[in-house]
Symmetry: D2
Subunit: 352 residues, 4 copies
Amino acid sequence: MIVVMKVGTPEPEITRVSEELGSWGLTPEKIVGQTKVIIGLVGETASLNREQIQEVSPWIESVLRVEKPFKRASLEYRHGQASEVVIPTPNGDVAIGRDNPIAIVAGPCSVENEEMIVETAMRVKAAGAKFLRGGAYKPRTSPYAFQGHGESALGLLAAARDASGLGIITEVMDTADVEVISEYADVLQIGARNMQNFSLLKKVGNQPKPVLLKRGMSATIDEWLMAAEYILAAGNPNVILCERGIRTFDRAYARNVLDLSVLPVLKTLTHLPIMIDPSHGTGKSEYVPAMAKGAIAAGTDSLMIEVHPNPARALSDGPQSLTPDAFDALVKELAVFGKAVGRWEEAVPVLA
Amino acid sequence: MIVVMKVGTPEPEITRVSEELGSWGLTPEKIVGQTKVIIGLVGETASLNREQIQEVSPWIESVLRVEKPFKRASLEYRHGQASEVVIPTPNGDVAIGRDNPIAIVAGPCSVENEEMIVETAMRVKAAGAKFLRGGAYKPRTSPYAFQGHGESALGLLAAARDASGLGIITEVMDTADVEVISEYADVLQIGARNMQNFSLLKKVGNQPKPVLLKRGMSATIDEWLMAAEYILAAGNPNVILCERGIRTFDRAYARNVLDLSVLPVLKTLTHLPIMIDPSHGTGKSEYVPAMAKGAIAAGTDSLMIEVHPNPARALSDGPQSLTPDAFDALVKELAVFGKAVGRWEEAVPVLA
Amino acid sequence: MIVVMKVGTPEPEITRVSEELGSWGLTPEKIVGQTKVIIGLVGETASLNREQIQEVSPWIESVLRVEKPFKRASLEYRHGQASEVVIPTPNGDVAIGRDNPIAIVAGPCSVENEEMIVETAMRVKAAGAKFLRGGAYKPRTSPYAFQGHGESALGLLAAARDASGLGIITEVMDTADVEVISEYADVLQIGARNMQNFSLLKKVGNQPKPVLLKRGMSATIDEWLMAAEYILAAGNPNVILCERGIRTFDRAYARNVLDLSVLPVLKTLTHLPIMIDPSHGTGKSEYVPAMAKGAIAAGTDSLMIEVHPNPARALSDGPQSLTPDAFDALVKELAVFGKAVGRWEEAVPVLA
Amino acid sequence: MIVVMKVGTPEPEITRVSEELGSWGLTPEKIVGQTKVIIGLVGETASLNREQIQEVSPWIESVLRVEKPFKRASLEYRHGQASEVVIPTPNGDVAIGRDNPIAIVAGPCSVENEEMIVETAMRVKAAGAKFLRGGAYKPRTSPYAFQGHGESALGLLAAARDASGLGIITEVMDTADVEVISEYADVLQIGARNMQNFSLLKKVGNQPKPVLLKRGMSATIDEWLMAAEYILAAGNPNVILCERGIRTFDRAYARNVLDLSVLPVLKTLTHLPIMIDPSHGTGKSEYVPAMAKGAIAAGTDSLMIEVHPNPARALSDGPQSLTPDAFDALVKELAVFGKAVGRWEEAVPVLA
């Protein structure tokens, strides 16, 4: 932190401010410039906020933060080396990270019944997905909308996992459900609306399964990384960051603005792997292919794409879901771009 | 819902769409205009979304919602009559609503220790507040920042309640804490970051204490009212809506933009009482008086103002807190505006 | 500007950076802290941007701006003293400023014909307005919408001025029209969409009539004050800042969010007088009274309110216009708040 | 337009509303539903706004727009066929459109001197660019910053054009400069801050050179297309839409959020070709390559990239400029993605 004093601050006031800040456990370093005096604060400043320091004296002109607020999430924490999250699945370990093939997560918004979830799993696996997504507990804007089948849907996901060998990613909305969900899921998802549900972040940070942390719809990058920091600080090092569209002034066509610029930005800030969700990011299936391709070219580590056997009859988020056929065709198109970036896993020929 | 078909849609396709929507339990009413055909959908459309209908046919040009998505929160639900939330406190019942005196809630961001919370309670009561706010569980951006004293702070709030007679408002962040907090608090607060924590909304909807529902930092008015709808639908009719500043493109001076226009807007939409929080809404104590006055003149039903005996040493949100002296002076100023709108409770002379 | 060097920057690189910045005409002052080296830059830094400095060396961690970018618009420029803009009108000089009675500007969006503009002028004058607004040149989203009557409407405004004695405020959209408009108008308005039309700002800065500068719909406060700085720097000291609603994520009910928090914020930053426009700020006449009252209580220096004799038939912006009767009633209500803040001009009794 | 009447509207009021709207030149078509009456308005509704109709009766519940506000810019206007803009340059015609090779525009923010602009032109041409960008008139936030060399810079651009054979793209900020700039430039650029400078749009619509229309920083897609409509309606059919980053709540790292989702969205709405500017879109040169690749994969028709021989000494926007070497390397990388989408012009082997 740097404290900038106003021009003409009396010497005794500068001394008083330095002593006050010193009494907070910080080491003030006074610097006398030509016109202004600046006080550098050395010490543990992560838990301080600038405005608090500002209050110390009316002679303080401004307080500037020099350090980033996140630590364990920072690239420096791993000395500039990216991390990878390795997730065991029935089909084998899948690693998501900067030096790994792009991993694809696919599946419906909600788990509706066993037939649909198993069918979807088999179809998306055949197309190349490594993980099945599907909601058991659904955050819905309206209390009158379908809220997910809850715990019984977890059993259906398990059946789909057994049938397909895919890893399972499903959302947790309540601290009370963390335990049961982590028995079934391979990756726990924190949804955008819960990105700053700090109780939930601590809880998923305190269990062993990897966490997919969706960006809040108006969360800054710093806030997002601080949410990851909650999980990391609670002891769980396996966090994947998922961009799913941000809220802006225009929602007439795309439901959100998918912020692909987080790809180059996050790579300079954090070691954590990144996923892009063009389905929620745009809200319309017809926009998904262009944005999925764009995400690969811009450097994503993984993709999450909604697929539903019959989007028009989906219990939730039908309009943004691809059919299995459309998903299959898309993955073939994506392969071109995945190869262009040198991050596409060649399908292993299967012996008859 | 109104379904607008594209110019030139073949007759059989219009019939097919009508039948499909009819099979969803809706009654389609076909209307043949000069160039376009429109299908009105009569029936229970609250749980449908427009995009889902759009998927039914590529010949659908657009789907327009005619009804508002909220019911119990709507002004129509009470036939245009505002509701009031009556809260029992040791000093007597306090009613918050459109026809009641403006109620003031004051107190620190966090409960730090017994002395500070009791002192603050006595001071804000003397100045005219009806409720004491104070956080036991604190949502903090950083996991390394002070997280609140938790359950032990609830006991301190109880002490302040006993000493002052003020009602207590404190935040609940976790479904697991609802029960214990509702034993101590007179009003349960849902913070901005949890406005769409639907598990928590259901839980507080299912207990008897009134709920103060803060607006999410980028929540639309419809989303905010739908969050209230969750609580109402779960059985708790006592919800107060609290505007606390929204997130915009500019945060250089005020931390948020306090959206006072919700006052006239909400009054045309909902019967629920409204509170304005200029402290979080601006993030700086020097902006609080102007916005508190503006809120009264624009029609607020209540105000929430942060007060701390020593803002510079507050464990959280010091910069936006007033000192007890400043709060006292402010309430005197507010009285002028409260009287101008005919909603100020005259202090009852106390006999010696 | 403060340049923060990364931990471990080699000494020769620090020297090189200092010399490079020195060659730009700045005086670098090196400060050696415990872990980091900081270089303070003294000199004319207003025209520099932080990123430009950042480019000088990959060892630069960050560059922090200490000074505000505006000068003539700053409160310091007048040593903390507010300015007032004095505008001659047929009815006498009207001063707008922090220590003056609140001035009201009223009138239709567009000048439609002589009868309507003269009638409106007489009605708003009778109600207490000091200025008549009315567009001759209209910025319209659609090229097919009514674009204003142009120069001929200026003549109609002159007629209304003669009839009522009110000062005239009208918008200028094109550098080519500045001269003719400044012959007719008492105040030239720069609309929100032209707030950063720098050619136009320079031109109105170079003529003698006061300028009403509307805030761009997503302009930060710094950008707004820099736009004012263009006018001031060109030689015109008479600038009034007008807040007219900002663009946010929610436009379902109010067309914009009227940002009343600019009132306390601007008063700490600038000496320029402030106007609030609740008509454009909300986009609906039913929200105007609450926001006009709120603006007065929060400290505005003036108000701009749309009034049209027949809003349903207005050629533009009908829905946000009050009828003359409604305006008359509103001004009576506003008087209560204007008196509460001690800034209401008592009507002078007129002798028969 | 569809007018939805409230439940219980008296029959005579419905008749009155129909007659009133009929007197506006519209044909009302009454539709009696089960609970509500709806009035469809047939006729020229493009210049009407919904709120104006709403004012006609308090019994009107809502007014819904069925048609898009733009015509000539719409895909329907060309019966679903994309347009291409063909620009003559000394090196031959260059066509920008959906079925053409991706065209690259490169060059510095400002034209600083002859040597730098000619050198840059030669370097970017060698790397594969078809157009040289360079500002003669510069919109700058501060009046104290470098404002461009104006008309003299146009001569330098002509020299660079002669030397390199590249087409020239330069910004016009003032109606007074349109004529002289259109003598020198091959494409006239309208900057983001002038996207709704309607006087300027009309003027560039009334001259023969193609226009590059940058999106305003908080312009909705509808507003952007309506700005294009101004140019088209004035008679100039050659408009290219350029996305250059939008303003959101987070500016800590990237200066804007580059909205690549406009690519699939615009392709469903308009026939006009699209350009993406990742330099302004992110504000930092290190983010440019990822976003340029993403833009190609997501379907852009052209790219605009800032290149400066010495970014650290640039008179404007240095931080977002690539060096010629970095640009050269980037174009080689882009070729991989350009070929993947089948839209890359193979370099023609030059005979010695």
